[in-house]
Symmetry: C3
Subunit: 331 residues, 3 copies
């Protein structure tokens, strides 16, 4: 695809929210606490249904959802595809690079065609920041867009499922200390998580990492910065580990993975510095032995697999909401 995606720039809040309803989900910024909590509440309905053994509901029967993955990601695509099928929607998986470029079709032409085929919802994954915004700005009024990760910018459904997981384990976030640990610089997950934690008025948000892996001016996001892992972990209630984005490191950001593990790897010993009932999170897939040990990842404090399960409920809630399903949550 040769169409250059413009940088997101200042976001008009009205793009993703209209009349107080979720129209698209592009980023956590500007979403507002009531709407964010409404998503979590709706996800709670799906999670409860699920725990009662009800995995499939007919809410989006007859709707067509297109997975537009410009960047390959089997994991993320699979969770969106499963969420869509459990809402009884029809799903089209479109791997975008191959088909649309070989015939010289531009992104906008592709969008117009999918609109004309009466798709209802686009799930967009793209290596460039701002791609989902660009698409949301250009789609027809009856089509919704969900950002499934754009460059280093945002991954809002991941942040929502993280908040859902914390809330399920800890309830209200206002008295919590939460640490986000690792490669914040390359992580759209970290960016979205920090905005979500702030939106929910989390007691204290810390970021922990080497200077080379923290964005300049990260303090302006309303977080406490720690370069010393042991100090940063002290008394936190939630440890959100990040994946070391080895595939995105084009320079020498860390001396070696071994040294990184020595300084920032989450071990049982380090975890003992956190609150006694602290939970450990990771967006997956974890680099075991690099940012986290298997003992911790598979240990009693880890809620990593719950994050995956809740991810489905959260994505079902988001899809139903952007599709304007009103009575989804009254049953």
């Amino acid at each position: 695809m040769s169409t250059a995606i413009p940088r997101p720039g200042p976001l008009p809040g009205t793009l993703q929210v209209r009349d107080g309803q979720l129209r698209h989900l592009l980023t956590i910024e500007g979403l507002g606490r009531p709407l964010l909590e409404q998503i979590l509440d709706n996800a709670e309905s799906f999670a409860s249904l699920n725990e009662q053994g009800v995995k499939k509901v007919p809410l989006l029967r007859g709707k067509t959802i297109a997975n537009l993955f410009f960047e390959p990601s089997t994991r993320t695509r699979t969770t969106f595809e499963l969420a869509a099928k459990r809402l009884s929607a029809d799903v089209m998986n479109l791997t975008m690079s191959a088909s649309s470029t070989t015939k010289g079709e531009t992104l906008l032409d592709t969008l117009r065609n999918l609109e004309a085929m009466q798709c209802d919802l686009f799930i967009v994954r793209h290596a460039e920041a701002g791609a989902a915004h660009f698409i949301a700005r250009h789609v027809a009024p009856n089509i919704a867009v969900v950002n499934a990760g754009d460059g280093r910018h945002a991954h809002p459904t991941q942040a929502l499922l993280d908040m859902f997981t914390i809330r399920r384990h800890k309830g209200d976030l206002s008295s919590l200390r939460v640490a986000v640990v690792g490669d914040v610089l390359h992580s759209r997950v970290a960016r979205s998580d920090i905005h979500a934690l702030n939106t929910l008025a989390t007691g204290e948000v810390r970021v922990i990492g080497p200077r080379t892996l923290l964005p300049a001016g990260v303090e302006q996001l309303g977080v406490q910065v720690y370069h010393d892992m042991d100090k940063g972990l002290r008394d936190v209630d939630v440890v959100m580990m990040l994946r070391l984005q080895r595939e995105r490191m084009h320079g020498a950001f860390i001396p070696s993975e071994h040294e990184y593990f020595q300084r920032y790897g989450l071990t049982e010993e380090r975890l003992a510095l956190a609150a006694p009932d602290a939970i450990v999170m990771h967006p997956g897939p974890a680099n075991r032995g690099v940012e986290i040990t298997s003992e911790v990842a598979d240990g009693p404090r880890s809620v990593i697999l719950e994050q995956v399960t809740y991810g489905l409920s959260v994505r079902m809630a988001v899809m139903a909401m952007v599709m304007g399903v009103k009575d989804a949550f009254d049953t």
Copy 2:
């Protein structure tokens, strides 16, 4: 696939029509006006349902449709897959080259196996002319075949959706002047469109293009031939642009794309030569700046995106008809 596909040769009319019913859809030739109009009428039912917000019907529930794409085409495959899902059929996407050749399986073996798996309908796309005919001649009596494009030969569902689009905008075709413009030589779409226009007794059919891109003896198809775009466009009611098949040009058919645009590109100025309410069509994806300007492609006369939308209704009608659904259109 090493099996050589024989050239189509003279077509026994009975292959695709039996007892006046559509058995397969292989080509527009020999289809006859009543049957062609019946397809359009049935497509009208689906388009109307669709416009009332009903996108999915249970007509083909329990049926299995196999997309056999020997030539990759995400766009066309997607429209057939969507049409099948909206008829509630189960769809199998089979990319044919890889699997069947690596194990030395012949085309006929593959067909026999798919028959034994009780597939009901094959959608066939192939780079060789005659492939869909070959398959239709060899499938079991209970299986239907729809040609989704074979070499330079035919693309009948495209022609049908083009006729549907013209009829919706212009009503009866007998008083219309229609121009087919561009690379007729390499275009299965052009061939099928010309046959369809003639079958519907279109007032006047013109082809416009350089000598190098018109097939020898094209006049015998019952068309007026123009090499001068401005003359050819004069007073036409419908302009059907063709895609310049750059990927199929193995020789020097045109001096340069720039010069092609100068002589045959559809601009606002040129379009002004046509009738005041002329519509502009293109099978997509358009080479903007080569055969058509963006102003025209996205302008008020363009019905290009309607073609895509109607394509779904037409393909639903064809699938339902070849599957012998009788009461599809009585609801």
Copy 3:
């Protein structure tokens, strides 16, 4: 996937059978005659329904089936996908090599994630013997595993559909002579078929092939060994041809395909040595002219395509049984 799969070793019978019910399907060994016959009886129900024109049943509606194909096989994947869709399950096709290795995810992490996404059944195809066992040993208690072929070890659904086909044509197996012909050494199908034939107390089981293509000690499987095709075929009721696994032959197992055909290819003349009503089977895809002539493969004695059809009924039965559907077969 860098995780080494341990060799299967002695199989705890309880792994695939629990309380007399089929929990997983990993291998024919240790399955026992009552359970094997129950699978065939249940498949009979689906085959009968099918012959009455009922192709789709709602038995697994709301269930999620993941096709985990570590080794590509369009044919086998397609039959499992079709069987799952005809049970109304949701199907996820996961091509495993690409996604899980590029991000350094281990097999166990992948399994844990699919469990967390609440998949219900894994269909596993893998180039290494023991892979499905390994997965079955490590999945959560509520998840079932079906082996769709692991290395040279086992392909139990193929053996079951072969038994189903024999039973449909010949009834009781105790008075039958069955010959398994060809490349037994590289064939998981042969191994599973021989175990199934013995479990059903087949009158006489013969293997026919050159020394280089029979495993050492094959007699210990309770079979008669023939190196002379003509002698081995004499008076048999069932001829089970194997595919010459050319892609697995890393050494010089046969002098040439031509010479192989001369000695072991099934021709009309050779088939005349078998019982007058002998049937000919092949797991497909056949190497025509190498292990079998087209005359025989397409001839009146061949039941090769019936095997494909019955394969769907057998796979539907296995899936329903490992998913614990109790009243599947009472309708």
